[in-house]
């Protein structure tokens, strides 16, 4: 009789402990985010550190972003044309492609790629610095690791992400132009003209840019936090890197849903 009781109690204890740890970690993450913002001016004073991080997370992500954007746009054009031509609406291909890319796919897919390409690298780098006690060494030399290591990586990601998302959308639309106009033979005037008459700067493009800035903040914050919080072992760093990719992907998708509800309600979408 006492056996199942203790098993139940044990299970409850484990759930309670896990919940407590998760909430405490969230609190630490919020405190950490605040500390990064406080230390940002000191970190941004040495602008070259941030430029270096833009190089590593932005410039080195260019190839994967550009190639993915091109292919996503080309596939969208092929599949979109297949459906649209059944209703005799193949002239609307430009609208379909540009709205999906600018509003959703550009920021979201670029954000997911950015999380796996740059976010994981940031986490691994900071985690390894912690494991090899470089961060402690900096503190010892009165160099603040938040200003010197974390803030430049955070701002490098925040600056890179909107630019990468805009490039993704641009290449996607160009890819759709190649497939739709050059390959399938839709009229170029209808492709661009319909696109321009429907896509609105404030509602579509500006909201897309806002989304990509938000995703940049989310991914960069999760990446630097997981690296800073990683257990200082090989296993800890690998776990933190995995958590960065998983957590930032889920956070991007959840944030995208909420932003979409706020941005496009009353524009005829919902």
């Amino acid at each position: 009789m006492s056996m199942p009781d203790s098993a139940v109690a044990d299970g409850l204890r484990r759930i309670g402990g896990g919940t407590r740890r998760a909430i405490a970690r969230l609190g630490f993450a919020a405190r950490f985010a605040f500390a990064v913002l406080i230390h940002s001016p000191a970190g941004l004073k040495r602008i070259r550190l941030t430029l270096r991080e833009i190089y590593f997370s932005g410039v080195l992500s260019l190839v994967i972003i550009l190639v993915s954007g091109l292919f996503v746009g080309m596939v969208l054009a092929l599949q979109g044309y297949d459906v649209l031509q059944r209703y005799g609406a193949s002239d609307s291909l430009g609208i379909l492609v540009s709205l999906s890319l600018v509003r959703e796919l550009g920021p979201v897919v670029a954000g997911l790629l950015f999380a796996s390409r740059a976010g994981s690298a940031i986490t691994a780098e900071i985690g390894l610095m912690k494991a090899t006690e470089q961060l402690s060494a900096m503190e010892m030399m009165a160099v603040d690791p938040l200003a010197r290591v974390v803030a430049p990586r955070f701002w490098g990601g925040v600056i890179s992400m909107p630019l990468l998302a805009a490039l993704f959308s641009t290449l996607g639309i160009y890819g759709a132009y190649l497939v739709g106009v050059k390959l399938i033979g839709i009229d170029a005037g209808a492709f661009w003209g319909n696109m321009q008459s429907v896509v609105d700067f404030r509602h579509d493009i500006l909201n897309g840019i806002i989304k990509s800035v938000v995703f940049g903040i989310i991914v960069s914050l999760i990446a630097v936090f997981e690296g800073y919080d990683a257990a200082p072992t090989a296993e800890g760093v690998s776990g933190a890197t995995t958590r960065t990719v998983v957590a930032s992907s889920l956070a991007i998708l959840a944030a995208d849903f909420m932003l979409t509800v706020f941005m496009f309600r009353g524009v005829g979408v919902i």
Binding site: G58, V59, L163, A166, V199, D200, I205, G268
Partner: protein, 156 residues
Amino acid sequence: MNRSTIDLWVGIFVALGLGAVLFLSLKVGNLITSGSRGEGYHIEAAFDNIGGLKVRAPVKAAGVVVGRVESIKLDPKTYEAQVSLNVEKQYQFTKDTIASILTSGLLGEVYVGLDAGGDTQMIADGGRIAKTQSAVVLEKLIGQFMLDKASAGAAK
């Protein structure tokens, strides 16, 4: 990797990114004309039924887009739909202009069509269109048709 190479690459990256934003704004979003669209003037029109008209639907004259629908409200006294149109400044319409709610094609978008009349005076900012034509509601039309058929059959 030395400093100047990093600077160069970051510069190229930022320039490319800003170029992409510019491309999206100008080529895709058509910012130049939508900018002048924002500085248009307002015309009010009341309709008995607006059908499927939505905010941001185009306003067309002779098939040319001259503005956008800005807001749609129901007048609580007359039970008419109050539609506010934002028309580009360069297009002026006569006071006897007729506004009608039309559909491009059978399944196409719903828009407001403006047919200018012969009046010499123009509608000012905030002015009102007196003559309007409501949307054709297909269900009502079919119902009317069936009623006519039935009464014609009964008369025989």
